[in-house]
């Protein structure tokens, strides 16, 4: 049964032109791979991270110094997050340059843009979690930038109810980073792939 399931994940037919590497450069596929690496490493990091201001930084130091492979996993999580953002930016650029956001693929353009913003938001919420100086001040400045937006103060009150560095704020960033944003991203990713399958592969604009 498992074999059948895996078989159905892949399309029955693929047009040869869709496999042309110089058209997509497989950027979306590479971004998805980064997302999978992030999921696996992130799940493992959950076993050691403690989402409270007093213990967060110590828990990461413990992970880095006393856990076999801990520093490697954390580096991998960080590097794949960089990779995801770079690949998504390039993927977006490719879609723009090949005109793949046009009519029949409008839906996937909107889903894709949402995924891009969610990925940036996931990176931003993850940035605070180590609770070191860089994390603290980067989040502080980001939250200050948010106030420039309409309804920015309300958004800020939702994200950091007791100011950057407070226990409630850290817990909120943690919840967003490990559950809410990844869950939405996963659903939207599946939708993104489903739309491609429904349209029987890529539509060659160029």
């Amino acid at each position: 049964m498992l074999k059948e399931l895996v078989k159905h994940l892949f399309p029955r037919l693929v047009r040869e032109g869709d496999l042309r590497k110089t058209y997509t450069f497989c950027l979306g596929g590479l971004a998805f791979t980064s997302l999978l690496v992030l999921t696996v490493t992130g799940l493992l990091l959950l076993f050691y991270y403690s989402p409270a201001p007093q213990t967060a930084h110590a828990s990461i130091q413990f992970l880095e110094s006393d856990v076999w492979g801990g520093a490697y996993l954390r580096s991998l999580h960080r590097l794949s997050s960089h990779a995801l953002l770079v690949l998504l930016a390039l993927h977006t650029l490719r879609v723009i340059l090949t005109g793949a956001f046009l009519h029949p693929k409008k839906m996937n353009w909107i889903v894709g843009c949402s995924l891009l913003f969610l990925a940036i938001f996931a990176a931003y919420t993850g940035y605070l979690l180590p609770m070191d100086q860089l994390a603290y001040w980067a989040t502080q400045t980001g939250m200050e930038l948010l106030r420039a937006l309409p309804l920015g103060d309300a958004l800020r009150a939702l994200l950091v109810p007791d100011d950057v560095g407070g226990p409630l704020s850290l817990l909120r960033f943690y919840a967003l980073h490990v559950v809410i944003v990844p869950a939405v991203m996963f659903v939207l990713t599946m939708l993104h792939f489903f739309v491609i399958r429904r349209q029987k592969g890529l539509l060659p604009y160029l």
Binding site: W137, Q140, T141, M143, E144, L145, A157, L158, P161, D162, D163, G166, P167, L168, S169
Partner: protein, 134 residues
């Protein structure tokens, strides 16, 4: 593909439900103030703790009290650019985040900060200074 048009009643129901749900979620996610550390309130310190022609810095409260001759000035150390805590230097204040510089009177010497540092109200009585933050 013809879809049945959404009825007015269903639309209104969905609208009301999502407004109620949104309001409930908003109340749930914005607890009463005072749950965490707040930068508001009054700070008290002894005049003798402020060195002559120098400054006493309270980084936790983000307050600095500067003595110039017989005068005392209190400043909010929150940078007017993006809210980092500025450092007190010999010449005034400097922000470690994006390099803004302020003079000893809090005025902007170098951007990106758009405004001078906020002066805080200060009351002196019997050698005790009380700095109030609104």
């Amino acid at each position: 593909m013809a879809e049945a048009p959404r009825s007015r009643r269903a639309t209104l129901q969905a609208l009301i439900l999502s407004l109620l749900g949104g309001a409930a979620l908003w109340r749930f996610l914005t607890p009463r103030a005072g749950a965490g550390a707040s930068a508001r309130g009054t700070v008290s310190l002894a005049e003798a703790d402020v060195p002559p022609e120098g400054a006493l810095v309270l980084p936790q409260q983000r307050v600095a009290v500067i003595r110039e001759g017989g005068d005392f000035l209190a400043f909010d150390l929150t940078c007017t650019h993006l809210g980092c805590t500025v450092k007190v230097t010999e010449l005034g204040f400097s922000c470690p985040c994006h390099g803004s510089r302020f003079g000893r009177g809090g005025e902007v010497l170098k951007g990106p900060a758009p405004r001078a540092l906020e002066r805080l109200a200060l009351a002196r009585r019997d050698g005790i200074i009380r700095v109030t933050r609104a």
